[in-house]
């Protein structure tokens, strides 16, 4: 790879006079949780990178400045631990000489990784809902997924108006992501006159929620909010809530967990759950993407995956326009300059300046869906100001 960059420089110069097409490799790193309870998200990211590579390579490679690059993926597991993520990012940057990383995943790993990636001008696409993940201090950090503090306000308003729920109960994991999501959600509920009458943090490895749910249900709640719980945990919560006889609506104002909820709780228990729906599952492009993903990985696709695919599409396109696969400054600027860019998600833009002073948040429409008979049905279409 280091050789490659030298060749690239030389051949960039040459290509001005000799527009011949020759084969090279372009390495893309994946740094995500590929073991443990965050795996569904990690595989979503890895899958996006691998499918994007597959698509480009099947057309003979990515053509940049007269050269065809075969895209290769190097994926490392961080076990959802900040220290592991740090070692892995060091390795991606220094050993594998990678300039573009799909990751990190989770807020703690992101905060550990971003200083290193920024210092080395490496572009990252993070799945972390912490507001600190986007900032002028991290000019190479992009976020393709829409965080809770953007979608919770319009979604919560719509759901609360529809259900008339005032007393909300919730359980959330006691870690950075869990706390972050819960804070954003609580604020959103308070704005529309509902309150968290029972909220309980718990340690991540807990599997028996019955005592905690008993405690929450004793507060006579109108609805239960699943918050930012990991997909499996969300599934267990739904199951145990229904076992305890809770028949009210359940709301998921957090990342996509629908496949896991259906798998763990079963479709009867999952009736009447209002979920944040990142993509429209009925769109034909999305259907095709989902089919490919599920055929390849044999697991239900997590809805975060197409967002990363979309970001990689933008990245590849920016590389072509900028005419470089090594100069991350140029690629970054070109990518930020793109608007109404057509992706698997439909037309996307960049946003975020007002909230984080960094315009590197992917902007795409999102939805509220309700689970009926084991499938999400879209009931409202949203943008950051309202749901309809």
């Amino acid at each position: 790879m280091r050789k490659l960059s030298k060749i690239a420089i030389v051949s960039c110069a040459l290509s001005l006079s000799l527009p011949a097409v020759s084969a090279e490799t372009l390495k893309l790193g994946v740094l995500a949780t590929l073991s443990g309870s965050g795996t569904a998200w990690g595989i979503a990211m890895q899958g996006a990178a691998e499918l994007a590579a597959e698509d480009v390579n099947s057309r003979g490679g990515l053509e940049v400045a007269g050269k065809k690059y075969t895209v290769e993926i190097t994926a490392y597991d961080d076990r959802y631990k900040a220290a592991d993520a740090l070692t892995a990012v060091n390795r991606l940057i220094f050993d594998d000489q990678i300039k573009f990383i799909v990751g990190p995943l989770g807020s703690a790993p992101a905060l550990a990784v971003l200083p290193v990636s920024t210092e080395n001008k490496v572009i990252t696409m993070t799945l972390a809902f912490t507001p600190k993940a986007l900032s002028p201090d991290f000019p190479y950090s992009f976020r393709p997924v829409i965080p809770t503090d953007v979608f919770s306000d319009p979604q919560v308003k719509w759901v609360v108006d529809k259900l008339g729920a005032k007393r909300i109960g919730t359980l959330y994991p006691n870690d950075e992501s869990g706390q972050q999501v819960s804070i954003a959600n609580e604020a959103a509920y308070n704005k529309v006159g509902a309150t968290f009458v029972a909220k309980e943090p718990f340690e991540r490895e807990r599997v028996d929620f019955v005592p905690l749910l008993t405690r929450v249900l004793a507060q006579k709640i109108d609805a239960f909010e699943l918050d930012g719980n990991a997909p499996q945990t969300a599934g267990l919560l739904v199951k145990q809530l229904r076992e305890l006889g809770f028949k009210g609506p359940i709301i998921r104002t957090g990342g996509d967990a629908t496949p896991d909820i259906l798998q763990i709780a079963g479709k009867e228990a999952a009736e009447n759950i209002y979920v944040h729906q990142a993509v429209d599952p009925a769109s034909p492009v999305m259907k095709e993407y989902t089919r490919r993903f599920e055929a390849k990985y044999k697991v239900p696709m997590n809805a975060f995956s197409p967002f990363f695919y979309a970001n990689i599409q933008a990245l590849f396109s920016a590389m072509k326009q900028a005419g470089t696969v090594t100069d991350t400054d140029k690629v970054r600027e070109t990518m930020l300059g793109m608007s109404n860019f057509a992706t698997v998600l439909g037309k996307v833009n960049w946003t975020g300046e007002a909230q984080w002073k960094s315009n590197q948040q992917l902007d795409a429409p999102f939805y509220v869906a309700v689970l009926k008979d084991g499938a999400p049905q879209i009931v409202a279409r949203c943008n950051p100001t309202e749901c309809k």
Binding site: E203, V207, P211, T214, R215, A218, Q232, G235, E243, I264
Partner: protein
């Protein structure tokens, strides 16, 4: 009245997890009492039991009782083989044996991840519905766990009291030297005891499979709890494991219901450390000489 419902729910739930803790702790303490080995892989056998029950129940579609039996036998035999091949070489060296079980635990858990994947699987309920007693509602699936655990423990108790092998195990636990003189063969007793111990863990896993979910990670928490229980009850003491298991289940359930889970977790650990310091041999254990 509402308070009464809350307390009843907490008590029932305490009994359910308590029953699971008892099965885990009895096996754990058995290995220690007889072989002097702290088995860090105990939770992985729980996980294997859960997977065995899952696959036999879902794919073979046989009665759940048979699934339990298959889980106990296969995992028990596996445990005996593991003891014979990997733990026996460290006889008399507690430290190495303990580290060996740590290694075994890592190997089993990660093999499970590679083979079955990390995604949890949902096992269909064995029994459905809820028992309604006035204002109280108890899911049958949880009541089943209590009943099954009680039956399993009764069978185990009978085995230890009434069979030749059971008596031999108790003799070794009480006084190894004397047992040796009486002609009890350690090389047969140890693998059998280890097999029996992990079979109990497998049964616990198989019973809890339908209540929670089944994944390669489910063994960790029950094992930690087994640690706590045997310290409460005294290492090597079977009555201590029963009392300690039920007590821990109830304490955990009540504190979590009343004060939330963080208080429950910290309180539990501090309580155990306190007991260790005041009564190092546990509530019912005998002090080692």
């Amino acid at each position: 009245m509402e308070y009464a419902i809350l307390l009843a729910q907490a008590a029932l739930n305490g009994l359910v997890i308590g029953a699971m803790y008892v099965l885990m702790a009895v096996g754990f303490t058995l290995t220690f009492g007889i072989m002097r080995v702290v088995n860090f892989a105990h939770g992985e056998f729980y996980m294997l039991g859960a997977f065995t029950a899952f696959f036999t129940y879902v794919y073979w579609d046989i009665p759940f009782v048979l699934c339990l039996l298959i889980a106990a036998v296969t995992i028990g035999v596996l445990g005996a083989l593991v003891e014979r091949a990997l733990i026996q070489p460290f006889r008399g060296d507690e430290t190495s044996a303990m580290i060996a079980t740590l290694a075994i635990s890592v190997i089993i858990q990660n093999s499970a991840i590679v083979i079955w994947g990390p995604t949890p699987r949902q096992m269909p309920d064995i029994v459905q519905g809820t028992l309604l007693l006035g204002p109280f509602s108890f899911p049958w699936s949880r009541l089943l766990v209590i009943a099954a655990a009680a039956l399993i423990f009764a069978a185990f108790w009978l085995f230890m009291q009434a069979t030749r092998i059971g008596r031999a195990m108790r003799a070794v636990a009480q006084d190894k030297e004397a047992a040796l003189i009486q002609g009890i063969r350690i090389n047969t007793i140890y693998p059998l005891a280890f097999g029996l111990s992990v079979a109990l863990a497998a049964l616990a896993g198989a019973l809890m499979g339908p209540v929670f979910s089944v994944s390669p990670f489910v063994g960790l928490t029950p094992m930690l709890k087994a640690f706590v229980v045997v310290i409460l009850g005294g290492l090597g003491s079977i009555p201590g494991a029963v009392v300690g298991g039920l007590l821990l289940g109830l304490i955990e359930s009540f504190t979590a219901t009343m004060f939330g889970s963080l208080v429950a977790d910290i309180l539990q650990l501090l309580l155990v450390i306190l007991i260790l310091l005041v009564r190092p041999a546990g509530l019912l254990g005998q002090r080692e000489v």
